[in-house]
Each structure stands twice: as structure tokens, then as C-alpha cells.
């Protein structure tokens, strides 16, 4: 139990230590910055044994901070979900800090970087281990803040850190990207806070376990107001939608790649964007018991919404990934798309009692495997960009010979992303597909399978453009200038290699891990919370075969053309020369026109509104608020008070007041 507290406290101590050592000694500071995440990772691993004994869970350790006017607790909750997330977050964070040692070497703002990274790790662990929604929200906002600060890390906005382009397309500066992320996720957060408040109003507590236990009582109460549960579902999902970059708040994540490479790996691929998935998984028991125990039809909206958001996002983002030209942006689209899969798993979990456990397991299993392989992909991408001095894939090509270790790691991770057996991506993606098929949701299943093909295509394209084929002219120029691409520093490729080995291990142990997770969720959802669940459908075996065949087929459909175009380089894309093809390409390149719409609507709208306010109304309000009201409140009242002579130097007045009060009180008392 105490390890959970250590988990949270170590990185916060790390942030403090980094700041304290920042000016004293650079080596000591770097050591502290890696040591504390390491200790946090160790503490999180110490939590794993209790996962093997689900009967000891859930364990809570809390102390009450406030009891009036409502209870505010500081506490940690250990259940399978939080333990898995804590381990994933802490271990990957540690590996990424090791990578940062090499990547960020010599950066002028490195103290700030280390402090923010440590603060982020601590906040993220606080988020996943918190035992109540209020504390969870504190962690939630803190990770958002760190994300903002790290996206805009290069706040001088030098040209080399701009992303976007190439030339006719607009560029985006890091500070702009940070602000965009802050505003979009912040919007979701605020809406979610409204949902949390409504839950508190009905449940009377922020504590997660209490909310679960009493949900069968207060959800029917909530259902007496028609539409209230639907409203709460929308409000609560807004936060995760923003944080996990799901449709319609997914547009901030591609730009978030303006931050340093490891930050993209840590925050915008492996951990923070998963907090939305985590929260949805946290909320499943609430709405599930509302739907299946209390019988409120409205509660199913939560699940339908989750599944559909997931599949729409997965599809949209994958199509955009097909045309991306920046390496990290392509990976960002892929992140958005893969998180969509997790949402599908969690969404279908509530749609049929048979899928509750397997759906939750599928979503979280995909989260785990995605965290590992996407972190690996991003770290490798960071190395490649470092070596190629360009963010564009068309500026690379043929890098395999120059960076063999990175190539190998990235290849393993990419194959895992596609979902080929026996890597973990295969197991977890199939679990998601199987869950959606078992839930009987055919449209979601079909769209998800199509997305598998798209994923295979863009992943092969990415690997091919970067590592295969002839050198691009950019690489040739670099070579003639005497700066040929070279393998990354040892801490960097070591971290990538470590993650690649982890992928292979996780793949070989895939079915075991899935069984373990399944048992964990079985214990926490069925045994502890006593949610009703039906046994799996009897034709599960045949479904399993069908899903495997379909997904492998989809992968082949996607990967084979991409192989010939981008790796073997024996075919050309002719479809783009066709006007329809060109139109589709433009549509995808402009991100389904959603981003532009947001800019026009909200940025343009806000500017219009600000013009209106500043030129049309502000003067009058300024007069009222800053001149007239203070005059009334302070100056006039002050003048009046001066006339009452309570503040004169003349003692006679003071004594008169004493007499007045005395006589007045005597009259009242002796009347």
C-alpha cells in the first residue's frame, strides 16, 4: 500500500530536487531527474504482486483532509485498473527519461525540462492512483498543464521547431501548439467538471468506491429527471474526449508534436493521452450498474457514445495518417486512431452483459501494448529526426544503413502497430475486434476492420519512406556537407532497444497477460462490485477464428500495396493523378476540413467578439466597473464615514462613541 504513495511522491520530490540542484551541479541534477522516476518505477513494480492476488483488492489508503462542508480525502485506490496503469506509466516514463539524457543533452532550458517531466510523471501517477474524483481532477489538470508547458518548450519559437508545412501549407509555432492543446483539452476538462459536480450532487461523495457502491441507488434518482443521465454522459465524456484527443476534440494532438521528441513519446503517446481511456474505464461500473442493475435505459447512451466516438476517431485519424508527410505527425494520427480502438473496447463492454469483462480487458490491454510500441516508435522517430535534420519523411529514405539499431527497433514496433502475430498489437487489437463482434455491433466492427487495413497501409508507408528506397536529396546534401546521418547516442538507442525487447516479451506472453488482466477485471467488476455479467456466448470459439482471419486479411490488403510502393519502390501511385483522387487527397490532407472549421469558428469568432467588445462596449463597462463603482464603494462611503467622525484625531468623538454604545447597550439591557 505504501508503495502507491511512494509512486506518487517520488517524482514530485524529483521535480523539487531538480529545481534545487539546477544551479548547483548539472550532473547531479540529471542524475536526480532519472533517479526519482526510477524509484517510482520500482515502487510501481512492487504493486504488481497484488495483481496476482485479486482478493486483496481493492485496497484503499486515505486520510481525510476536510470534513466540513463536504468530505475531501487524499487517498489512493489500488485495483487492477489503477495498478496496470501505474505500472505502464511509471516504467515507460523511466525508460523515456533515460532516453532524454541523450536527447536533451546541452539544451539551455534543461532544468525546466527535467522539472516539468518529473512533475508530469508525479501528476500522472496521482491521476491514476487517486481514490476520488476531486483528487483525480487535480492530477488531470496538472498533467494538462505540464503537457502545455512541454509542447511549448521551445518557447522562443525558432524556425527549426515549427511544425506543419511543407511550404504552401501553414506552419505552426510551438507556443501556438501548446496553447491550442491547452484550450482544447481545457474546454473538455471544464465540461467534465460540470459532470463531476452533478455526480456529486446525486451521489453525495467524490470517493470512487462509494460512488460505485451506491450507484444503484442514486442513478434511478437521477433518472427521474429525463435526459439527466444522457447529459451527464456527455459532460463526463467531454474530458476524456479532450484529453485522449478523440473526435471532435482530436485536433490538438497532431500539433502537440511541436514539443521535444521524448515529450511526444511520453505525454502524447504513452501516458497522458491514455488518461481519458483510464477515466472511461473508471466510469464503466457506474453506468453499467445504472443500465443493467437499475434498468435505466438512458445509461446505455454512455456506452454507445463511447464506442461510436472510438470508431469514428479511429477511422478519421487513420485516413489522415495515409497522407501525412511529417514523421511525428503521422505517428500522432496513428495514436489518435489507436486510442479510438481502446474506446471501442470500453464502449462495447457496457452494451451486453457477456462483453463487460472481455471488453474492458480488451480496451486496457490495447492501452498497455500501445503504450509500449508507440513509445518505442516515437523514440525511434526522435532519433531519426535528430539524425536526418528534418521532420519530413520525404527528406529521409534509405536510413536503414545509417542507423541499424533504430531501424530494427522501429520495425518491430511498426509490425506490432499493424497487428501481426505474435506481437502484442495483434493480441490486443483482436481482443477489441472480438469484443465488438460479441456485443453484436456490426457497424462498429466493420469500420474497425476497415481501419485495420488503413493502419497497415500507413505503417508500411511510414517505415518505407524513412528507412528504405534510395537516399532523398536532403540526405545526399547532408552527406556532401560532411554531416551524414549516424546512429543515435547509446542512451537513446538503448532505450529504443529496451522497449523493442519489451514488445517482443509482451507479445510472447500476450495470451498470458490477457488472462491475467481478464482475471483482474473479473475480480474487480464481478466479485467486488457484484455487477451482473452473463457467461460468454457459446460460439465464441468460431468468432475468434473469424476475427483473426478477417484482421490478418485486412492487414494484407493494406500492407501489400504499400510494400510495393514504398519499400520495393516498384510501383507508383497513379490514383492521385485522377481528379477524384486528388480531391480525396486534399480532403484528407486538410484533415477532413475540421481543423480549418475550428479555426474559423472559434479563433475567428473569438477575434470578432473581442473586436466587438473592445470597440463597442468596453468603454462604458470600463467607466462603470473601474470608475463609478469604486467611486461609489470606496470614495463616497469613505467620505460618508469621515463625516461620522469615527476617524478623527479628536478624542472627544471617540469618547462620545464609547458613551453612545454604553448608554445604548444599557438601555437595551435594562429596558
Amino acid at each position: 500500500m505504501q508503495f502507491a504513495w511512494f509512486c506518487i511522491l517520488f517524482p514530485f520530490c524529483g521535480a523539487a530536487a531538480v529545481l534545487a540542484l539546477g544551479r548547483a551541479n548539472a550532473r547531479l541534477r540529471d542524475a536526480a531527474a532519472v533517479l526519482f522516476p526510477f524509484l517510482a518505477a520500482l515502487s510501481s513494480l512492487a504493486l504488481l504482486p497484488s495483481l496476482l492476488h485479486p482478493e486483496t483488492l481493492p485496497a484503499v489508503s486515505a486520510f481525510t483532509w476536510l470534513s466540513v462542508p463536504f468530505t475531501v480525502e487524499l487517498g489512493v485506490l489500488l485495483d487492477p485498473l489503477s495498478i496496470i496503469l501505474a505500472v505502464v506509466v511509471a516504467v515507460i516514463s523511466f525508460i523515456i527519461t533515460v532516453y532524454c539524457l541523450g536527447y536533451m543533452k546541452g539544451d539551455p532550458g534543461i532544468t525546466r525540462f527535467w522539472a516539468l517531466v518529473n512533475l508530469f510523471i508525479g501528476s500522472m501517477l496521482l491521476l491514476v492512483l487517486a481514490d476520488n474524483l476531486l483528487l483525480l481532477f487535480v492530477g488531470w489538470k496538472l498533467v494538462g498543464l505540464c503537457s502545455y508547458a512541454l509542447i511549448g518548450y521551445y518557447y522562443h519559437d525558432e524556425k527549426k521547431y515549427w511544425i506543419g508545412g511543407p511550404a504552401p501549407a501553414p506552419f505552426i509555432k510551438p507556443t501556438h501548439a501548446g496553447l491550442k492543446a491547452l484550450i482544447m483539452t481545457g474546454f473538455g476538462d471544464m465540461v467534465m467538471l460540470g459532470g463531476i459536480m452533478i455526480i456529486f450532487y446525486y451521489a453525495g461523495t467524490f470517493n470512487l468506491m462509494n460512488i460505485y457502491r451506491t450507484s444503484a441507488q442514486w442513478i434511478p434518482e437521477m433518472a427521474q429527471t429525463p435526459g439527466m443521465i444522457i447529459l451527464v454522459s456527455f459532460l463526463l465524456l467531454a474530458g476524456p474526449v479532450g484529453k485522449s484527443a478523440q473526435f471532435p476534440l482530436h485536433e490538438w494532438l497532431p500539433e502537440a508534436m511541436a514539443g521535444p521528441g521524448p515529450v511526444s513519446a511520453l505525454i502524447h503517446a504513452a501516458t497522458m493521452v491514455k488518461s481519458g481511456v483510464y477515466l472511461v474505464a473508471r466510469l464503466i461500473p457506474v453506468f453499467y450498474s445504472g443500465y443493467w442493475v437499475a434498468g435505466c435505459q438512458e445509461a446505455s447512451v454512455f456506452f454507445t457514445l463511447t464506442a461510436w466516438i472510438g470508431v469514428i476517431t479511429a477511422f478519421i485519424a487513420a485516413t489522415q495518417g495515409l497522407v501525412a508527410l511529417e514523421l511525428k505527425k503521422a505517428l500522432a494520427y496513428s495514436t489518435v486512431s489507436q486510442i479510438g480502438y481502446m474506446w471501442i473496447g470500453l464502449g462495447v463492454a457496457g452494451l451486453a452483459p457477456a462483453v463487460l469483462v472481455s471488453g474492458s480487458t480488451a480496451g486496457i490491454f490495447h492501452l498497455v501494448s500501445h503504450a509500449v510500441f508507440k513509445a518505442c516508435l516515437f523514440l525511434c522517430a526522435g532519433s531519426v529526426i535528430h539524425a536526418a535534420h528534418s521532420i519530413y519523411m520525404f527528406d529521409m529514405g534509405g536510413m536503414r544503413k545509417h542507423m541499424p539499431y533504430t531501424w530494427l527497433s522501429m520495425l518491430i514496433a511498426a509490425v506490432c502497430l499493424m497487428g501481426l502475430p505474435p506481437l502484442p498489437g495483434f493480441w490486443s487489437k483482436d481482443a477489441v475486434l472480438l469484443a465488438s463482434l460479441q456485443a453484436g455491433n456490426m457497424p462498429v466492427f466493420t469500420l474497425a476492420v476497415i481501419t485495420v487495413a488503413l493502419t497497415a497501409f500507413y505503417t508500411t508507408r511510414l517505415v518505407g519512406m524513412v528507412f528504405y528506397g534510395p537516399h532523398s536529396s536532403h540526405i545526399d546534401t547532408l552527406q556532401t556537407e560532411g554531416m551524414p546521418p549516424h546512429e543515435a547516442r547509446a542512451t537513446m538507442w538503448g532505450a529504443c532497444g529496451g522497449l523493442a525487447i519489451l514488445i517482443i516479451l509482451l507479445g510472447l506472453l500476450g495470451p498470458k497477460v490477457e488472462t491475467l488482466l481478464h482475471a483482474g477485471f473479473q475480480a474487480s467488476l464481478i466479485t467486488t462490485l457484484q455487477l451482473p455479467a452473463a457467461a460468454a456466448v457459446d460460439h465464441a470459439g468460431s468468432y475468434h477464428g473469424l476475427v483473426t482471419v478477417l484482421s490478418l486479411l485486412a492487414i494484407l490488403i493494406g500492407a501489400i500495396p504499400a510494400f510495393f510502393i514504398y519499400i520495393a519502390r516498384s510501383k507508383q501511385i497513379t490514383i492521385l493523378k485522377h481528379p477524384t483522387g486528388e480531391w480525396i487527397h486534399g480532403f484528407l490532407w486538410r484533415r477532413w476540413l475540421i481543423d480549418g472549421f475550428y479555426y474559423r469558428m472559434f479563433v475567428g469568432g473569438a477575434l470578432l467578439l473581442s473586436d466587438f467588445i473592445s470597440f463597442k462596449t468596453e468603454d462604458r463597462f470600463h467607466q462603470l466597473i473601474h470608475t463609478r463603482l469604486p467611486e461609489l464603494v470606496t470614495q463616497r462611503v469613505h467620505k460618508f464615514l469621515l463625516r461620522t467622525r469615527t476617524e478623527t484625531e479628536n478624542l472627544a468623538y471617540a469618547c462620545t462613541y464609547i458613551l453612545l454604545i454604553l448608554i445604548g447597550a444599557l438601555i437595551i439591557a435594562l429596558r
Binding site: L641, Y657, A665
Partner: protein, 499 residues
């Protein structure tokens, strides 16, 4: 030994007060360590007493072995051991701070300063520890007289301000004495516990009613409750910085303690609630005080004077909590006594530090202060936040309980007044923060040159540490307010109170 703690805590500073002139005559530098050591003793004693009270409830000490009601009794319970701890902590911290400040402001009056300082703390501790109504008066006069002296050795306006203070303070003390005299007339006893036993039969008596009013008004003057506060702003402004920092957090709060003692222990709570509707009067005066004090504070251009008016406003909060006479309200008032002790201590110490460096406390000289004295000013910011009531400082919690108490009493006007006065607090404290943050008053549109570089110029450690201790006290008493509430304050509240 443990049984002797109540008398030790009074005797230690009293004896030291007589030693200081002798030692100071020999070597002036020894006064400071002697005073610090003499005030460390009460700190230990009061903590021991609080521990004892929390372990086994109240206990009493009979002076000279004379049993009450003939002898003087020191009666210890949750209420006064709580206040004693506050007094001893704050006086100890401020005395540590005094070294450099006194050396720069009163270089030739070090010996009398420490003598009077110790006497004043003796008086405050004695007032709180004593369970004898007349003995309280004696200590009240000891502390008041030494306080007059301490304030009078301050800057130019000090003698005149002290004169006003003497006149009003003496009126207050005589009112208190008159009240005690009337009570002695009808009961024949001065012991508080004895009075509490005898008085309920006499509530109809006009003598008792008059006594109640005299006590109330007398303590009201000492407490600087509006409109009886006229002595306070001048006295605190012109006093030496250390004295302001000692008197502002403690003096009025000890008077507030006395008010609670008289209203809810010596008399039954019902007397001042029903027989004389004094609580109603008190809470309305308090509500006016909160607004008026804040508005006057806004009008000031000298930090110390502004803070003095803030004391007037904050006394309003405490008086409101007492006047609400319900569980939440009184909890708020007691918590606010604790909060005020740390917060006012903190901001007045900072004011002293600013005087030490800038030689004045005029707000117009405050530009770039955050860059000159970053540590001091961050402590000031914490104090400010507590004044305004931003969590997790203690000010938030005391104000929260006062708000909840007003809601429980069903009086929405007080709720509104509390909120408005919070807003006014924001106005005058943020004005200081803004002035101290920038080179020029905002908005500074015309700037084209880069900001000038400002060298850090912090106060010495002997001043810095007490300031930071006070700031830490604010945060800790806020964070652990629930603990303080459940361990100490709930036991203070009379049983008859409704939530």
C-alpha cells in the same frame, strides 16, 4: 513539575523582565538572548499544558496553595490553553525577529524595550491563564501599561497616538473593573468558576445586567471593536515595527478570548443571547466593522496603517463568529483567532522588514519590491492570501466556517457582508502586490526599454526565519485545520449551542 507549568509560564518572563535592566546595564547585547530564552519557557510550558489538557481535560493551579474562591486560581481548559499556545508561539517568533529591527529603529532604547516587551507578554499570558476576574484585570493593566510604553518609544506621531490609546484603554479597563466590581457586589466572589455557579440565580438583577454591559463595552474597547477602535490605527502605525508585530496579532485577540470567557463561561451563554440580546448587537457591530475597516484600509497609503485598519476589519470577523453564537460560527471565530495571530504576525513582520530596508512603509516606494526581497515578499503573499481567504491558507477555513455559521443562523446579510468584505480585502491587498511587482504602476503601455535589473537585497536571517516561520504557520494551520478543529476547538464550544 508538570503541575507547576501554569505559574512557570507567567513567572519566567516576569522575572526576566526584572533581570533585563540589570543585565542591560552591564551589557546591552545580552538583553536579546535573555528575552528569547525567557520566552522559550512559556512556549514549552503552554505546549505541555495543551498536551495535558488534551489528555485529561482541564485542571487548575492554586496560587500559593490558597484554595479558591479565597485564593487566586489558574484554571486551565481547552479554551485558554489554545490561546496560550498561540500567544507563546507568536511572542517567541516575534522576539527572535526583534534583534536587527530594534537595533536599527531604537538603538539607544534596547534595554527598556525588552523589559517592557517581557512585561507585556507576561500580562497577556497572565490574562489568559488566570481564573480570577480581578487577577485578570491586574494582568490586563500590566500588559496595557507596558504596551503604552512600547508604543510611545516609536516614531514621531507615537506619543500623541499613545495618549489617545491611554485615555481609551483606561476607560476600557475601568469599565471592566466596574463590571467585576458590580459582580463582586452581588456575589461576593471574584473566582470565575464560583461566579459561574452563583450568577444564574441573579440574572434578573439590574446590577448583574449593568455589570454585563460594562464588561462587554470595556472588553469591546480593548478588542477595538468598531466604533470603539479609534485608538488602534494610530497606535499600531507609529509603534516600532517589532511592537506592531507583537501587539497586532496578540493584543486584540486576547481581548477576544476574554470576551468569549466572560460571555460563555462566566455567564451562561443564554444570558448574553436571551437576557441581554448582546450577541445580536455584537454581530451587527461586527458586520459594520468588517466593511468599514476594509474601506478605511483601501484609503491608506502607508502599509502599516493599512494593516492596522485590516486588524479592525478582522476583529469584526472574530466578533461576528462570537455573536453568531452557534457551533460553526464560534469555531470560525476561534480558528480566526489562530489565523489572525499567524497572518497578522506575518504581514506585520514583513512590514517591519520593509521599514528595515526602505526606512518607510509608504506604498509609493514599493516598486520592484518582489525582486529586491523575493523571500520576504513571498511570505507576504501567503499572508495576503490568508487575509483574502484563498485555500489552503488558514484564512480560507476560518472564513468558510464563519460563512457556514451565518448560513446556519439563517442570516443572509452576514453572508453577503462576509463576501463583500472579502472582495474589499482583495482590493487593498492586491494593490500592494501590484505595486510591489512592477517598476511603475500598471498599465505600463509606454514601455519600450527593457526592465531595469534589480539586485536582491534581503533582510538578515534573524528576520527572515521568523517571517518564514509565520508563513509556514499560516499554511500548516490551514492544512491541518480539520485536525485542530476536532482535537481542540470542538471541546471549547458550549454544549447548548446549535450547529
Amino acid at each position: 513539575m508538570a503541575q507547576q507549568l501554569p505559574i512557570l509560564l507567567v513567572v519566567a518572563p516576569l522575572m526576566a523582565a526584572f533581570l533585563v535592566p540589570i543585565v542591560g546595564w552591564w551589557n546591552k547585547r545580552l538583553c536579546y538572548p535573555l528575552a528569547v530564552a525567557a520566552l522559550a519557557a512559556p512556549l514549552v510550558c503552554t505546549l505541555g499544558i495543551l498536551k495535558q489538557v488534551m489528555a485529561g481535560g482541564g485542571f487548575s493551579y492554586h496560587l500559593g496553595g490558597w484554595s479558591p474562591p479565597w485564593g487566586i486560581e489558574y484554571a486551565l481548559d481547552y479554551l485558554n490553553s489554545f490561546v496560550l499556545v498561540i500567544i507563546s508561539i507568536v511572542s517567541f517568533i516575534v522576539t527572535i525577529y526583534s534583534k536587527e529591527s530594534v537595533r536599527s529603529e531604537l538603538p539607544d532604547k534596547i534595554t527598556p524595550f525588552y523589559t517592557l516587551l517581557l512585561l507585556m507578554v507576561t500580562g497577556l499570558l497572565g490574562m489568559t491563564v488566570s481564573g480570577d476576574a480581578f487577577n485578570v484585570f491586574v494582568f490586563l493593566e500590566i500588559s496595557s501599561l507596558s504596551c503604552y510604553g512600547l508604543i510611545a518609544i516609536g516614531s514621531d506621531g507615537a506619543p500623541f497616538a499613545t495618549f489617545r490609546y491611554i485615555i481609551m484603554g483606561t476607560i476600557g479597563a475601568s469599565f471592566y473593573l466596574l463590571g467585576v466590581g458590580y459582580l463582586y457586589l452581588v456575589t461576593g466572589t471574584l473566582n470565575m468558576a464560583d461566579l459561574a455557579r452563583l450568577l444564574p440565580q441573579l440574572y434578573a438583577s439590574r446590577v448583574v445586567l449593568t455589570a454585563g454591559i460594562f464588561l462587554l463595552v470595556g472588553i469591546g474597547i480593548k478588542m477595538a471593536l468598531f466604533p470603539l477602535h479609534a485608538w488602534l490605527p494610530g497606535a499600531y502605525t507609529y509603534a516600532p515595527s517589532t511592537v506592531s508585530a507583537m501587539v497586532a496579532p496578540l493584543y486584540t485577540k486576547v481581548a477576544a478570548y476574554l470576551l468569549i470567557r466572560i460571555m460563555f463561561t462566566v455567564f451562561q451563554p443564554a444570558f448574553f443571547i436571551e437576557v441581554i440580546p448582546a450577541t445580536t448587537l455584537l454581530s451587527w457591530l461586527a458586520a459594520i466593522a468588517m466593511l468599514v475597516g476594509s474601506i478605511y484600509a483601501i484609503a491608506q497609503s502607508d502599509l502599516k496603517r493599512m494593516l492596522s485598519y485590516s486588524v479592525v476589519a478582522q476583529i469584526g470577523y472574530i466578533a461576528l463568529g462570537i455573536g453568531l453564537a452557534n457551533r460553526l460560527g464560534l469555531s470560525g471565530a476561534l480558528l480566526h483567532i489562530l489565523n489572525e495571530a499567524f497572518t497578522k504576525g506575518c504581514v506585520f513582520l514583513v512590514a517591519g522588514a520593509i521599514v528595515f530596508k526602505l526606512k518607510s512603509c509608504r506604498l509609493e516606494n514599493f516598486n520592484n519590491l518582489y525582486r529586491k526581497m523575493p523571500f520576504t515578499m513571498s511570505a507576504f503573499t501567503i499572508g495576503t492570501f490568508s487575509m483574502i481567504g484563498i485555500p489552503p491558507t488558514s484564512g480560507f477555513f476560518s472564513k468558510l466556517y464563519l460563512l457556514l455559521g451565518s448560513v446556519a443562523a439563517g442570516n443572509w446579510i452576514f453572508v453577503a457582508v462576509l463576501l463583500v468584505s472579502t472582495l474589499l480585502n482583495v482590493v487593498y491587498f492586491f494593490r500592494v502586490i501590484q505595486l510591489a511587482s512592477f517598476e511603475k504602476p500598471m498599465p505600463d503601455y509606454a514601455r519600450i526599454t527593457p526592465y531595469e535589473t534589480v539586485a536582491m537585497d534581503e533582510v538578515p536571517l534573524s528576520m527572515q526565519i521568523p517571517i518564514q516561520l509565520m508563513a509556514a504557520g499560516i499554511l500548516l494551520s490551514g492544512i491541518f485545520s480539520s485536525r485542530i478543529l476536532s482535537a481542540v476547538i470542538v471541546h471549547i464550544i458550549p454544549k447548548s449551542f446549535t450547529p
